[in-house]
C-alpha cells in the first residue's frame, strides 16, 4: 500500500487519480487551457479593444480614460462632453503635449467607424482586422465582447440551474414516495412545454435584459440535472452508511448534503461542461432569432444573423461561425476529459 503521508499531497488518492486521468486526455487538457486563456483575455476586453486609450500623458499629468471619463476641455478642447480620443482634433492636441497608449484594437463593441471608405459592412482592412458589420462596428471587438457575454451568461446559467437542479433532484430522490411521484409528474409537464416558443413570446412581451434573459432561460434549464441527481439519490438513500447516518441522528439535510450529495456530484460535474455549452447555444440562438439581448449588445448570435443577412460580406458569417464552433468544441472536449476523469473504470496506459 502507499504510504499515507499527509504532507505528500492535499488531494486524496482518488482525486489524484482523477487529475491524472484528466491530464491524460490531452485534447481535453489543452482545450481547458486554451479556453481559460481566451476567457481570461476576454475578461480584460476593455484593455484589448476599446475606443479610449489605456493611459494618457498630457501636460505633465496622467489620465486613465478607460476607468474615468474626462471632458474634452481637459485636453484643450472646446466641449464639456467626454473627449473622443479617436477624433483627430483631440488626438493631435494630446500628441502635442504628451502621448497615449492605445489598446491593440482601437474600437469598442459599439464604436462606429465613421471613416470607412466603403459602405458598411466593410471588408477586412488594416484598421478593422476582420471587417466591420453592417453598422460600421468593428467585428473583432464585437467578437471579443460577445465571447465574454456568451461565456459569462453560460457560466451563470449553468451554475444557477445546476444548484436548483441538484437541490430539486436531491429532495425528490431522498424523500421518494409521494414527493417524488408528484414532482416527477410536474417535471414531465414542465419539460413538455414548448420552450423556444414560450421564450419568444415572453421575450416579445418583456424587453429582455441580461438578467431577465437569464431568468427566462433558467425557468427551463434547471430541469436538466434533476433526473441524474434524483437517480443518484434514489440509489444512495439505501446505502448502509446513509442508514447508519440516520441511526446516528443526522438530520435529513445533513444526510442529503454530507453523505449523499458527494456521490451525486460525480454525475453532476460530468454534465456541467455540456450544460455550459448548451446554455451558450441557447443564448446564441435567441440572439440569432432577434429575441435575445437588447439591440446593440455584443452578441455572437446577432453577428451570425448579420452574416446571414449580408451574404456578400462573408467575413461576418465566417468569423462568427468559427468563434462559436471553436468555443463549443473546446467546451465539449473539456467535458469529455471531465467525464474520463470521473469514470472509475477508465484506465490509461
Amino acid at each position: 500500500m502507499h504510504a499515507a503521508s499527509p504532507q505528500a499531497s492535499r488531494l486524496s488518492p482518488l482525486n489524484q487519480r482523477r487529475l491524472a486521468n484528466f491530464r491524460a486526455n490531452r485534447r481535453g487538457f489543452w482545450s481547458l487551457w486554451i479556453f481559460l486563456v481566451l476567457f481570461v483575455l476576454s475578461m480584460f476586453a476593455e484593455l484589448i479593444a476599446n475606443d479610449r486609450p489605456i493611459l494618457v500623458r498630457y501636460d505633465g499629468n496622467f489620465y486613465v480614460p478607460i476607468v474615468q471619463s474626462y471632458p474634452e476641455t481637459a485636453f484643450g478642447g472646446e466641449f464639456e462632453t467626454e473627449a473622443d480620443y479617436r477624433d483627430p482634433f483631440v488626438a493631435d492636441a494630446i500628441a502635442e503635449k504628451g502621448w497615449m497608449i492605445w489598446p491593440a484594437i482601437r474600437f469598442s463593441y459599439r464604436t462606429v467607424n465613421r471613416n470607412l471608405t466603403v459602405p458598411a459592412p466593410a471588408p477586412p482592412s488594416a484598421e478593422n482586422w476582420v471587417g466591420t458589420d453592417d453598422q460600421g462596428r468593428d467585428v473583432l471587438a464585437r467578437l471579443i465582447y460577445g465571447f465574454r457575454v456568451s461565456v459569462l451568461f453560460g457560466l451563470i446559467l449553468c451554475v444557477v440551474s445546476s444548484i436548483i437542479g441538484v437541490i430539486a433532484g436531491a429532495v425528490q430522490g431522498y424523500f421518494g414516495g409521494w414527493v417524488d411521484l408528484l414532482f416527477q409528474r410536474f417535471l414531465e409537464i414542465w419539460s413538455g412545454l414548448p420552450e423556444l416558443y414560450l421564450l419568444i413570446i415572453l421575450a416579445s412581451v418583456i424587453t429582455p435584459s441580461f438578467g431577465i434573459l437569464l431568468a427566462l432561460l433558467l425557468l427551463f434549464s434547471w430541469t436538466g440535472l434533476v433526473g441524474v441527481v434524483r437517480a443518484e439519490f434514489l440509489r444512495a438513500r439505501n446505502f448502509d452508511y446513509v442508514r447508519a447516518a440516520k441511526a446516528l441522528g443526522a438530520t435529513d439535510t445533513v444526510i442529503m448534503f454530507r453523505h449523499v450529495l458527494p456521490n451525486a456530484m460525480v454525475a453532476t460535474l460530468t454534465f456541467m461542461p455540456f450544460i455550459l455549452s448548451g446554455s451558450v447555444v441557447a443564448l446564441t440562438s435567441l440572439d440569432f432569432l432577434g429575441f435575445g439581448l437588447p439591440a446593440g449588445s455584443p452578441s455572437l448570435g446577432e453577428l451570425l444573423a448579420q452574416g446571414k443577412a449580408n451574404l456578400h460580406a462573408p467575413w461576418l458569417g465566417i468569423t462568427s461561425f468559427f468563434v462559436i464552433a471553436i468555443m463549443l468544441s473546446l467546451l465539449v472536449f473539456i467535458g469529455e476529459a471531465v467525464r474520463d476523469a470521473f469514470d472509475p473504470r477508465k484506465i490509461f496506459r
Binding site: 448502509d240 452508511y241 442508514r243 447508519a244 441511526a247 446516528l248 441522528g249 438530520t251 435529513d252
Partner: protein, 334 residues
C-alpha cells in the same frame, strides 16, 4: 422488577408487492410477522435464523430505519413506534447500530475521525479540542490508534473498519446497540477479536445488544438469551444453555444439528430438512414450519401454534411440546 430496556410486542413489518400499471398491491411480503420479546439492561439477545427469515428487517424496524407496519416498540417503557422523524431523534441516542458490511457502512469520503465524530457533531455534544479528545478516546476504546483518525475507510482492513463502526455506535453512550450480523463479513480470527471487543465493552458500559446472526457458534459465545426466527416469526426463545441443551422446536433441533463439530470422528444424527423455505409472500397456513417439519401432524397444517412457556423461561411455538409441569414444580418448591 424494573422496566426492561427494550420491549417489542407483536411487531410486524409487511412490504407490499406491487404490480402492473397502477401498481396495485397484489400481496404482502410478511418479512416480520408478529415478534414479541424484551431485553434487559446489560443483556445480549441473540436473534438467529436463516437468510431471509426477517431478522435484519426486525433489527432495522426496531431502530425505525424501516417503519413498522404494526406492533409496539418500547424503550425504557416509552413507546417509540409512532414517533415522528423529529420526535424520534432524541431516542436515536439510546439506540445505535453496527452494520454487517464494514465496507458499505462507512462513508468512503469521510476520514475515520470524522466518521466517529459525526454522531457527536449531530447532537452538538462536543466541538473543537473536546471533540478530538472524545474521538481519540473512542479510538483507543475499540483498539485503534488515535493517529489513524486521518485515514480513510479504504485504508483499513475489514476488522479495523468494523471497529470504527463500533466506535461510532459507542460515541453517543447508547443503552442498546443493534448488531446486524457484525462479524459475518469478517474472517474467523478477526470475528473472535470483534466479538470479544463487543463483550468487553458490554462489561465496561453495561450495554445491551440485540445480536443478529446466522452463525450459532458466535451467538452462543456472546448471547445470554437466544431467539430463533423462522419465516418472520420467533419460534423459540430461551436462555442459551437451555437452547443448546434441550432445543424444543423441531426447527431449532435441525439448526443445531447443522453446527459443525471440530472432531472428524464424531458421528451424530444430522437432521436434513427437505425442501426450501416457503415464500414469505404466501406463508403456509397453520404452523409455518409444517411443510418441512419431520414431525408435522394434521393439526399443524391448520392451527397456528402460540408461544408457550414450556419450561421456566423457555418459550416455544410448537403444538407438539407439552408444558413440563415438573420443571415448573421444582422451581416453585425451591
Amino acid at each position: 422488577m424494573s422496566v426492561p430496556l427494550l420491549q417489542v410486542a407483536d411487531l410486524k413489518k409487511h412490504f407490499p408487492v406491487r404490480k402492473g400499471l397502477l401498481s396495485r398491491t397484489v400481496g404482502q411480503v410478511y418479512a416480520v410477522d408478529g415478534i414479541t420479546f424484551s431485553l434487559d439492561k446489560g443483556e445480549t439477545l441473540g436473534l438467529v435464523g436463516e437468510s431471509g427469515c426477517g431478522k435484519s428487517t426486525a433489527g432495522k424496524t426496531i431502530l425505525r430505519l424501516i417503519e413498522p407496519t404494526s406492533g409496539t416498540i418500547r424503550v425504557n417503557g416509552e413507546r417509540i413506534d409512532a414517533l415522528s422523524r423529529g420526535a424520534m431523534r432524541p431516542w436515536r441516542r439510546e439506540l445505535q447500530v453496527v452494520f454487517q458490511d464494514p465496507y458499505s457502512s462507512l462513508n468512503p469520503r469521510m476520514n475515520a475521525g470524522d466518521i466517529v465524530a459525526e454522531p457527536l457533531v449531530n447532537y452538538g455534544l462536543a466541538s473543537g479540542q473536546a471533540l478530538k479528545d472524545r474521538v481519540s478516546g473512542l479510538f483507543a476504546k475499540v483498539g485503534l490508534r488515535p493517529e489513524q483518525m486521518q485515514r480513510y475507510p479504504h485504508e483499513f482492513s475489514g476488522g479495523q473498519r468494523q471497529r470504527i463502526g463500533i466506535a461510532r455506535a459507542l460515541a453517543l453512550n447508547p443503552g442498546l446497540i443493534v448488531c446486524d450480523e457484525p462479524v459475518s463479513a469478517l474472517d474467523v480470527s478477526v470475528q473472535a477479536q470483534v466479538i470479544n471487543l463487543l463483550m468487553d465493552l458490554q462489561g465496561e458500559f453495561g450495554l445491551s445488544y440485540l445480536f443478529i446472526a446466522h452463525d450459532l457458534a458466535v451467538v452462543e459465545h456472546i448471547s445470554h438469551r437466544i431467539a430463533v426466527m423462522y419465516l418472520g416469526k420467533i419460534v423459540e426463545l430461551t436462555d442459551k444453555r437451555s437452547l443448546f441443551a434441550s432445543p424444543q422446536h423441531p426447527y431449532t433441533e435441525a439448526l443445531l444439528s447443522a453446527v459443525p463439530v471440530p472432531d472428524p470422528k464424531a458421528r451424530r444424527k444430522r437432521i436434513i430438512l427437505s425442501g426450501d423455505v416457503p415464500s414469505p409472500i404466501n406463508p403456509p397456513p397453520g404452523c409455518r414450519f409444517h411443510t418441512r417439519c419431520p414431525y408435522a401432524e394434521a393439526r399443524c397444517k391448520v392451527e397456528e401454534p402460540a408461544m408457550r412457556e414450556v419450561r421456566p423461561g423457555h418459550f416455544v411455538a410448537c403444538h407438539l411440546r407439552k408444558v413440563d409441569e415438573t420443571a415448573f414444580a421444582t422451581i416453585a418448591r425451591a
